[in-house]
Amino acid sequence: MRAFSYERASSIEAAVTVAASNPDAKFIAGGTNLLDLMKLEIEAPTHLIDVNGLGLDRIEPTSEGGLRIGSLVRNTDLAADETVRRDYGLLSRALVAGASGQLRNKATTAGNLLQRTRCPYFYDPNQPCNKRQPGSGCSAIGGYTRQHAVVGTSDDCIATHPSDMAIAMRALDATIETVAADGRHRSIAIAEFHRLPGDTPHIDTVLQQGEFITAIVLPPPIGGKHIYRKVRDRASYAFALISIGAVIQPDGTGRIAVGGVAHKPWRVEGAEALLSNGARETARGILADARPTEQNRFKIDLVERTLGAVLAEARG
């Protein structure tokens, strides 16, 4: 790990001012992904701004009837929250499908959104990787690609976003509230928050230098059956091959977000109109532009079959 200076932020304003003036500074909250990457020198900040003391750890109702989740709420606390369990069960389910009890106790809501891909080539500093070192090439393309993305890929990157929580947030139409160095606040729809790789796969999100997430806001509850189904190589503590986050209404309409298939939580609203035609047509609509490799072509069938299981479960 490279040496760095360290400070505890005294306020959000102070934190974003420091971060905006120093491109080599990073915020640290749970640190469960950042420190892992720093040990491998994939991330090498020269200055860490500890934001854990900023009091952004509350879950509060919004005036619109939704929920404002502080960016520092731990994954365990979010999954266990009474309102989340009752009204946003999908979010609770997705959270407890990810990581381990130890990690969920430390990992934060904002940090979960900002975690980086687990592509093994990104993690191996000896291999070219456009995400780690722009312009160096992609080792995954033509390499071992069983875990990789099948849709929204580019010639520069086929990595997936690893989060379970973000799949639920996408299906629930969450918005991300931020504050920038100039004090400007903005709300970013989760659909716009994560980027597709294109020719700049090193940029994961639309956040600007120094911009800080203060909260994630859920709109009022929409009812329906909340189901998160994750398919992985072992029963627990593994990243998804694919996952499906669904909210299905009694009339059969619903929302479907898919994990493990793209560089961002994958949802195609237009395909949700096909739900009445069954899993096959809906899955085909969701993955219409898929470009799988020989090794991850199975994900196409897996999405369809998992969606079939989800719809059967929703029918009860």
């Binding site: 640190g31 407890v96 009890g101 990690l103």
Partner: protein, 172 residues
């Protein structure tokens, strides 16, 4: 720039001042600076759970957090749970049920086990919890899921589950 910090931790009930390089993980602070070597370094990447300790009452991976981030925190390691002659009930149950072979993962397994029973009591849901709106249940299936962040390469899993079930009062 200053690359070192002073931090005060409460470890097993005792206040400890440390002058450390900012890079020092909580795990390395415990082992290398405070010589509490019960907590083990396995993978050092949060994948094996050997470094599990309790911080402010919650289990975490000590390898994936910096000591400097824990000013004022209360940390409990395996040494703080119990000592020879005065074992924590979970330590005694691991002995009784033969919940280990080489023993390397055991301190992490025991810290995690104690926390798992507390998490169920606190009604924190898990991936296998059937009804999110009903109290969490202590079952063998729940214990297995909740312990998945602690690997045991000797494969003592079934005896570990027996030890936890025994302490938790679960009759199979």
């Amino acid at each position: 720039m200053n690359h070192t910090s002073r931090v005060t931790l409460t470890v097993n009930g005792e206040s400890r001042d440390l002058d450390i390089d900012n890079r020092t993980t909580l795990l390395d602070a415990l082992r290398e600076h405070l010589h509490l070597t019960g907590t083990k370094k396995g993978c050092d990447h949060g994948q094996c759970g050997a470094c599990t300790v309790m911080v402010d009452g919650r289990r975490i991976n000590a390898c994936l957090t910096l000591a400097v981030m824990h000013e004022g925190s209360e940390i409990t390691t395996i040494e703080g749970l119990g000592q020879p002659g005065n074992l924590h009930p979970m330590q005694a149950a691991f002995v009784k049920h033969d919940g280990f072979q080489c023993g390397y993962c055991t301190p992490g397994q025991i810290c995690s086990s104690v926390a798992v029973l507390e998490e169920i009591r606190a009604n924190i849901p898990s991936h296998v919890t059937k009804d999110l709106n009903a109290p969490a249940q202590l079952t063998a299936v729940e214990v297995r899921e909740r312990m998945s962040g602690n690997l045991c390469r000797c494969g003592a899993y079934s005896n570990i589950v027996d030890a936890i079930a025994d302490v938790g009062g679960l009759t199979a």
